[in-house]
Amino acid sequence: MDFLGILNSTAGFILAPVTIAYALAALGLAVHFGFAGLLNMGMAGFMALGAYGYAIGILSFGLPWYLAALVGLGAAVIFALILGIPTLRLRGDYLAIVTIASAEILRLLFLTKVFDEYTGSADGLFSYNGEFQESNPIPAGTYGFPPFEDTAAMWWVRIVGIIILAVATFAVWRLVNSPWGRVLKGIREDEDAIRSLGKNVFTYKMQALIIGGVLGAMGGLVLAMSSNVNQGQYVTSLTFFIWTALLLGGAATVFGPLVGSLIFWVLQAFLGLLFPALAEQGLLFGLSSIQAAQIKFIIVGVALVLIVVFRPQGIFGNKKELTFVR
């Protein structure tokens, strides 16, 4: 068993675009759930809009990549408005039901043959990153040292992703530590109390839904920049993975989602390589290596349960600040 090789591949995920994408989406979810108390179960939908908006903007409308990126983020704003206007007046659980359904509706719209010309339906969209890579100031070649060794193209994605993540994290940190964030946390605790103090609760919740949604779309954008776009990526389980990353780090924190995503991906990659390797050695009760690769998903599920039961505040959270059981 090539244990060193496994560790090497695992380490590569520390700076992977997918980790950055998860961190952005989990940060958005932290704004939604951790600070505003909005139970958004449709983060995959927001991410899909970021990715598809970007790809369609370039392929179908010939926009420059940065304008196409804005199209993706704008689509997330519109989605948040459409979702929020009817549902934010309802109790929290209903938002969860509506968001999970809406995200699936979006995905099926991307899948259907009707819009094949724009969405590529089941094949998805690809080869739209040409112009983005033309803006890459790094000369072609391979950079870095193992395990952080990659092409100039991938480094450009990482650099752009990290810049987006840094700016987003700073903005969210500023927001939640301001009087605006105070109102948001108050809404999480008790909407009616905040209403009785003269604050327009609906506006605050809508703003939070939009900000979190745009952060999710940024995550989709980074994913789209690093590979192709396919509706199969934006399934409901993606939402649950983001939730796991968020709860791992701490829902009501700013840096928790980032660290949570990192741990999530490193662990995912490690287990995803470890179990097949073990199976090949015949150490997993006769499971084939393909079967063994699925074990990591079981572990993710068990981990999520254990976090929620034993450490609901996550790694960074204050035990007193967020508990699921009141």
């Binding site: 500023r174 927001l175 301001s178 009087p179 605006w180 964030g181 946390k185 009616d192 009785s196 600040e321």
Partner: protein, 298 residues
């Protein structure tokens, strides 16, 4: 100022608030809140059916009545937390019909809740700061630039600390509100309401679950509001408290206003005694409101 543990001297009662005889719906010399024809039905149940009521300005008015009389529902209707099926009501001459609750609050009509709504996972100080209206930092874009709101926030903190000191919560300002006792939460909610600089404070059972020692200081706080020029309307079951601090008493039963008057007179009213004070607890409420006529028993 208030806050003495010993009962303050007999409070100065405001008198001559009404015009004509004290009867349900009597007109006031200077009403701050006028409600007319308010009706709220939940399915077949009529929870509130108030023909006319006026709340006098700069006085302490108690709203009393047995459980299920519709007091809290009436509170919800007046403050925009619920909308009546019919009726008009106005605050300071401005109609409140269809005005959402947060706008009602911004007009200076602040309420507290029967089940205390302290924001448990925020600190006591953050709870207080939330009460302040017109904060620049509460706007999304300006919240990103601390320079725009830091100074105002510091001023709010001084104001909050001053109020917390009056309510003897200053030592707790860094604690989560969830760590406060039930009575302290009542105090916090009242202090938070005062952060909004209200003109009319509506307290829903401010004394429920508060120990007697704290009750006295709460009473002083409420009396204090009047001296500061505010108007108070409160729901309470404790008759001694009502007698002690209220200038005017409105009695509700089965959704209707059944009696009104100065505390001493209203408590002599046989209808009130029957309905509420418990001398004939076995009498059906319907008899008091005149819905049912009971056969003579004695």
């Amino acid at each position: 100022m208030s806050g003495n543990a010993t009962p303050s001297s007999t409070p100065v009662k405001s008198t001559g608030l009404h015009i004509g005889d004290a009867a349900p719906g009597v007109a006031k010399k200077d009403p701050i809140l006028v409600a007319h024809g308010i009706k709220r039905q939940f399915g077949g149940l009529t929870a509130v059916d108030v023909a006319h009521v006026e709340i006098p300005r700069n006085a302490i008015t108690a709203l009393i009545g047995p459980n299920g009389a519709g007091k809290t529902t009436f509170f919800n209707l007046l403050t925009g937390f619920d909308q009546p099926n019919e009726g008009d009501w106005s605050f300071d001459g401005k109609s409140l019909k269809g005005v959402p609750s947060f706008k009602v609050a911004r007009m200076g009509l602040i309420r507290t809740f029967q089940l205390t709504k302290a924001l448990g996972l925020l600190t006591v100080m953050d709870n207080m700061k939330l009460g302040n209206t017109g904060q620049r930092g509460e706007k999304l874009l300006s919240s990103l630039i601390p320079a725009l709101w830091k100074k105002q926030d510091a001023e709010i903190e001084v104001k909050a600390m001053d109020l917390l000191t009056r309510f003897k919560l200053d030592a707790k300002h860094e604690d989560f509100a969830a760590s406060l006792s039930g009575g302290q939460r009542k105090l916090l909610e009242m202090a938070r309401a005062l952060m909004t600089d209200p003109t009319l404070v509506m307290l829903d059972e401010p004394m429920a679950g508060v120990n007697p020692a704290l009750t006295q200081s709460l009473l002083d706080h409420i009396l204090d509001l009047k001296t500061q020029g505010m108007t108070v309307l409160f729901v309470e079951h404790d008759m001694h408290m009502v007698r002690h601090i209220a200038d005017w008493v409105i009695v509700m039963a089965e959704g209707k206003v059944v009696a009104e008057g100065a505390p001493d007179e209203v408590m002599k009213n046989p209808a009130v005694i029957d309905a509420y004070l418990g001398s004939h607890q076995d009498v059906d409420l319907g008899a008091v409101t005149g819905r049912i006529t009971l056969p003579e028993t004695k």
